[in-house]
Symmetry: C2
Subunit: 335 residues, 2 copies
DNA sequence: TCATCCTTCTACACCGATGTAGATCACCGA
DNA sequence: TCGGTGATCTACATCGGTGTAGAAGGATGA
């Protein structure tokens, strides 16, 4: 059996409640008593049982983070940032993977977690505006990331529109006119793909150009493999293009590989840009022009808001848009 | 206040214990009672309080996973595999990041976690043989990954020696004789770096060759950036080499970038190989020859062993070595 | 008819910590 | 000397489930 507070109390010759008071920094304890209790704790190797404390307090000190897949660098780096941010609040993070499946995302929202987590950070990929009622959860929740929901929940998001416009305008400024887009999701209306493609199209329109449908290549999910496949398909189609805007970095990296394999010079023949600024984007060959979505800010802000909600903040739902930054690298600018 | 078992019991007109029995599948319950209770649970939206159940059982259903950094692809992919494996046992995973600092690794081992986790999967990077006594923890623990400890703990590990020998022999078979190694940690004796370098050296010796000291480049930690820096240093040194064995993939990818930047042809002038087989290795340009350490097997085996320990298995400590696989790709074999 | 057995359900203590109320004692000022 | 005040500590109920023992009622078999 593990050492309990009772054991410590007995060992120190005080009541259990006094041990509890010592552990919680209650001020009115004689110095001599305190040291004696601390000595007993040390001697017995006592560790407080969190379940018991939680039972009283109704809190667990754990928050959940639900992401599609950790093996996607963007989400791994996001998880890193969230764990680090949570630590500053003394919170522990449990991670759930939804694999971007609508079913699993819904389960994640409604699973009887049995008060295991005090709050949830949720990065939905598959849910759509039609699922909005599902977001009205009992435990505090903050939506992370990419999608734009106007719903009954806090939301910390990437500035998809401004970021995509910025990178598009960068490509246009380089004189590129036939820009292929990788990673569209035809039929989707509110997802990241739709938002980013919409922003791309409107940037073109504002420049007096028309988006070219045959240069918009579907890819789902957004991975190196699908990016490579989309690029193969594009090349096979014979369609001419002088730039590629991949809707995220992994797509771009997959595409980059295929381009170079086919002897296409980047950026001379084709400029390539992505979105996310994962670590790898700085070290690919050529390094990748991309948009940094402000991951650390997103993580820190989301945790802050969540902690606020957990402490009873019931003001209006907030929608925070993180600051993006365009990083121009070799894949568009040469050396 | 949240709905408790008492509320459900009252609503269904039974005792709390009967509700408990229904939830736990106790067999001797009239069908009519069971449906009535289930209806009440549904009606009130009852969720069992895990803290309370845990208080009785002494279990939390949570295991910890301690890794250096999730933003390193290898560990992100490992975490993915661990979470997936844990799920099949109905376990939840909390992740801690040690940043590969000895201090934080020790804290991780000894932190009063307050019975929060039933067991711990620990991937140490900074700890050495001298810390072996610290591995004698109260909660069940399985060591993961890279380092070779002969200590008082279960250990599921990468076959560093055989894997490194295999990739070294592959380079030798290609006729390469001046093989640079990136990522050594001078002075270290038992770490992954030392083990892999030792295996490399002995493979050379077995082939009748001598390792060349000036081609052994330090890099710590193992990241793209440090890999790139080490390669810059190597090139600056003027030392000739016809192959690079990077002690992990991210180092290799950083080095690859620098090589190509300098106009070196890979693999014609210099062959490059890594270790880990992260997803990116398949999609870099050129794609990267590397050793797959058997991540999924490691994760699944480690979770299995841990679950065994948690259930009281106190047989001798096990040391499992995962099956590795050499993946030959463009960076050594051309197209 | 009665002891026995089985099914179904309940009362109660208990897991380990903490909030509340109150006991004890020294000390202070009137 | 006595009520009052503050410091220090303790007894006890309580958080929300579950293990244990056993009660109630019907069926079974001798």
């Amino acid at each position: 059996m593990a050492v309990t507070m009772r054991d410590v109390a007995q060992h120190a010759g005080v009541s259990p409640k006094t041990v509890s008071n010592v552990m919680n920094g209650y001020p009115f304890i004689r110095e001599e008593t305190r040291t004696r209790v601390l000595a007993s704790i040390e001697a017995l190797g006592y560790q407080m049982n969190i379940s018991a404390r939680n039972l009283k307090s109704g809190r667990t000190g754990i928050i959940g983070l639900a992401v599609p897949e950790l093996s996607q660098p963007y989400f791994a780096e996001l998880a890193d940032a969230v764990i680090t941010a949570a630590e500053t609040h003394g919170l522990t993070v449990v991670i759930e993977q939804t694999n971007a499946l609508r079913d699993r995302e819904l389960t994640t929202l409604h699973r009887p977690r049995g008060h295991l987590v005090d709050g949830l950070l949720f990065s939905p990929l598959a849910l759509g505006q039609e699922d909005i009622e599902h977001l009205r959860t009992a435990t505090p929740m903050v939506l992370l990331g990419e999608r734009m929901f106007h719903g009954p929940a806090d939301h910390v998001m990437i500035d998809n529109v401004a970021g995509t416009r910025a990178v598009t305008e960068h490509l246009l400024a380089l004189g590129r006119r036939r820009i292929a887009v990788l990673g569209i999701h035809p039929g989707e209306r509110v997802g990241t793909a739709a938002i980013r493609y919409g922003a791309f199209a409107s940037a073109l329109t504002d420049a007096g150009l028309e988006p070219i449908d045959r240069l918009a290549m579907p890819a789902d999910p957004w991975q190196r493999r699908t990016g490579a496949e989309a690029m193969e398909a594009l090349i096979a189609s014979g369609e001419k293009f002088d730039a590629v805007l991949a809707l995220n970095d992994t797509l771009a990296l997959g595409a980059l590989r295929v381009l170079i394999q086919h002897g296409v010079r980047v950026p001379d023949d084709v400029a390539v840009a992505g979105f996310d600024d994962i670590d790898e984007a700085s070290y690919s060959i050529p390094s990748l022009t991309t948009v940094n979505p402000g991951r650390r800010q997103i993580a820190a802000t989301a945790v802050d808001i969540l902690v606020g909600r957990m402490n009873g903040d019931d003001t209006e739902h907030r929608e925070v848009v993180a600051r993006y930054a365009l990083h121009v690298r070799e894949s568009t600018s040469g050396h």
